[in-house]
Amino acid sequence: MLKNTSTQYGILSISFHWISVLMVLGLFGVGLWMVDLGLYDAWYKKAPMLHKSVGVVLFVITVLRFIWVKLNPQPLPPEHSPTWERWAAHLTHILLYFLLFASMISGYLISTGDGRGIIIFNLLELPALPWQFPQQEDIAGQLHEIFTYSLIGLALLHMLAALKHHLIDKDTVLRRMLGRSV
């Protein structure tokens, strides 16, 4: 079903989640690889173009996802879950959203540091902000590195926590994000 219930994620939430997982992993991988390319490597221009374009698309998806989260009930924590764990989970999820947006916005600020827009998939241009701040591309560059590595680190922790719920607690936390009826 489309909407979430108190025990189950709807198909839209599930799709948002797993599409984001694939896109974030892809963006991180390409990002790591593309910065080591030389001027004469075949993907020198293509890789950053794809990285930026996919990043912008992910931004739109994440905004829609966030709106959907606010419009939906969220499945409740498992009954056995102690208070500290509920808080840790909630905080992690908030932090993941923060790091997603921070990563994408800092990336945007790198490329638009000179007032140029970002051309997405060679089709449309996302304009820069009406003003730039000094050394924007350098500051945004350092932040982008910090945010993206933190995002991957936290996502890894988030994944391990899900596996803990599934394999050790043997509860429905992972299953409900996989669409398995609970």
Binding site: G38, L39, Y40, P48, I110, S111, T112, G113, D114, R116, Q135, Q136, E137, D138, G141
Partner: protein, 195 residues
């Protein structure tokens, strides 16, 4: 006897002071970066197709010049390497990074002259130590004296232009920019205000 020796000695000393070249006009100048009447530009071939230009926007410098004894001239320039600007955010970020100028590790570049040899009234060859990316190497700059004189605001100014070429590898820049871009040209235009 003593008085005669004393007077002779005094006379000799005064003659020495008044006729020696240490009484020559050494002029000290500060490069007018405050009002940006000085520029440091670089030029390098982009994949063998066209010239890519950029400049260092922040630097300071001074020079001393002696019209009667130009070989005593000295120049010092300190460049703020993060201030490089080739008019493209992503490229400038790359240039400031480890592949090129590594400005975090080497936030300044410096030129200190070691010799100035006038070729004719206008031209000279300036030799000095360039410290770039932590490496110090002797380079020569072809200098042209572009002008000197009173300015309309009560000061005295002197100008020079300089051309030089540096090999990227000499200063630890090994990133492959193609066969036509092993060297970069530097063009300097400086106006000094006499102190």
């Amino acid at each position: 006897m003593l008085k005669k020796q004393f007077v002779t000695g005094l006379l000799a000393a005064s003659l020495a002071v008044f006729s020696s070249s240490s009484f020559a006009e050494v002029e000290n100048y500060v490069i007018d970066t405050k009002d940006a009447h000085a520029f440091i530009q670089f030029k390098i071939k982009h994949i063998g197709i066209s010239w890519l230009l950029g400049q260092f926007e922040k630097f300071t410098g001074e020079f001393s010049y002696d019209e009667k004894n130009p070989s005593a001239s000295k120049v010092t320039v300190n460049i703020d390497t993060p201030s490089l600007n080739s008019n493209h955010a992503e490229r400038d970020k790359h240039l400031r990074g480890k592949d090129f100028f590594d400005v975090k590790k080497y936030p300044t570049a410096k030129f200190v002259s070691t010799a100035y040899k006038a070729v004719d009234k206008e031209n000279a060859v300036l030799t000095g130590d360039l410290t770039l990316r932590g490496v110090t190497k002797s380079i020569t700059i072809d200098v042209k004296h572009t002008g000197a004189g009173n300015d309309p605001w009560g000061g005295y100014r002197r100008g020079f232009e300089g051309h030089t070429r540096i090999t990227l590898k000499d200063f630890g820049i090994n990133y492959n920019l193609g066969d036509k871009a092993r060297e970069a040209e530097l063009f300097l235009s400086v106006e000094g205000i006499k102190q």
